[in-house]
């Protein structure tokens, strides 16, 4: 409590402002970042030298990969011009069919339950913006985060 005695009101305001900014950055680092990179490189031989978007759809997981999520992805990625890698947890023909119109999307189907082995089988779909082999931004793909993901994608549009 004593710290307040040494701070003027303007300092307190500044402190709150910085904390607020840090909070808005959304993103605590993704705890399994190295697993994401290893998974893409070792299982799918994906080059991650530049910027790329990675979307992991947890097909066959109750509550994941819903129509809302698919529709959001469909609308959001159409103007993005950096490589997009879309990982499907299994060979779900229905979803592959829905994504066939996006020619610039690299659809990757998980092999031998590798997503599970790499600790990437989450109950919610995942969105990553990767920049030179590190995750710059990540989010669960659910309605409450749609706005934040869209904001990230808008920054990438030409």
């Amino acid at each position: 409590m004593q710290i307040y005695l040494y701070l003027k009101s303007s300092h307190i305001f500044l402190l709150f402002f910085i904390l607020n900014l840090l909070g808005c950055k959304n993103n605590a680092s993704f705890e399994r970042e190295q697993e994401v990179i290893n998974y893409l490189q070792k299982i799918h031989s994906v080059e991650l030298s530049d910027q790329a978007i990675v979307i992991m759809l947890q097909t066959n997981f109750c509550g994941a990969c819903t129509e809302d999520v698919l529709s959001f992805i469909g609308k959001s990625i159409s103007n993005v011009r950096i490589p997009i890698h879309l990982v499907l947890a299994d060979d779900s023909m229905k979803i592959v069919g829905q994504l066939k119109d996006f020619e610039h999307v690299n659809v990757l189907i998980d092999k031998d339950f590798s997503l599970e082995r790499y600790g990437l089988r989450y109950p919610t779909d995942l969105f990553f913006l990767i920049d030179h082999q590190s995750i710059r931004y990540w989010s669960f793909i659910e309605e409450s985060h749609f706005k934040s993901i869209r904001r990230q994608l808008e920054k990438l549009e030409p």
Partner: protein, 390 residues
Amino acid sequence: MKYWFWLLLFTFISLKCSTTTDYIELPTEIANKNIDYSIERFSIDISDTLAYKYYDFFYDSDSTTSLAICNDHTKRIELYSISNKRLIRSASYDSISLETEKYGKINGIYMHSIDSLILMQKQRISVLVDFKVVHSREINPELTSDKLPDNLFYNLWESNIYYDPADKSLLTMTYCANCKIHKETYYTAPIEGSISLENKNMDKLSSVHYPSIYLGKEYYGFCNQIYKAINQNKSIHSFPIDPNIYVFDRKNNITTSFGGRSKFHKMEVAPLSKKFKYNSEEKLNHMYEMPHYGSIYYDPFRELYYRFFLKGMPIKNKDGTYNTWGDKEKVLMVFNSTFELVKEIDLGRHTYTNTGTFVGPKGLYLSTGHYKNKEKKEMALEYDIISFNF
């Protein structure tokens, strides 16, 4: 003096906050008599992929066994003869007029005889003869209002439903749809009820609820499944974190408890912090990690009970790979009619699954359809029949 005051206050608060539950784990009785067993592979070739949650089986007086499956891949109800190893007949969901928009998806199936089935949906039960609805009744009318009901007839966790001829009713699970899962009220609500086939005024909720281990301040996240077997007027309940087995006598409204700890239960169950109550990932990780008492089956031919035990395991292995639910090692526990533990068989992992497992005259038909079973045949309904011989 001041120091003692604070120490006393701290002790008082700690005691006040500590969990108060009257839960006692009962000792597990071990049977004197050992039993041998044999395993026989059994399979039926099928013509299309099976994707199912709901199934039931039936055997005639001459021990002819049949299996009814709701196949979500073909969208058909399929009846198989286990004895003759073939599909007997099937009917599409559409032809049965399930009206899923109005009444919900299939939520349970009971096979009463080779040509008569009972189907449960969220808001209707239907009696089918030769795949034609001959009788139906709406259930859970409260679902049409804005507020969720306190007690809902609903089969959580794809459990089986049972017909009780004593009062012509369907025995199902119930739960408090209006309660928060991390609150005690959820665990004190009835977990079983019977839906009269004829008269909604005859619907009943039983007095049985979760055991007291769930009623304290501790929280166990997703480890709250209920597993059930039926032996005439007795409902046998098993819960993931509790070694005890609970036998509820529906006729006399009495619950008797028995110890049922596995010798493979080495890692103790730890509760989950309530700060994770809305965090599915933490709740899943906790469920993957903890030891888990699973499905329970009654074998009327040998007066035995079978119970799955899933060993505890770390989320992350030493080699850096991760484990999930499908990596849990399974143990088959065998109890006699007085719940003495007769045998435990280590089944390993990635072979057997409880979905599709059932008891027939030959023994326990243990489904080999685990999704990670590398020898699994896609176009076969395959089992290992475990037969116990006294």
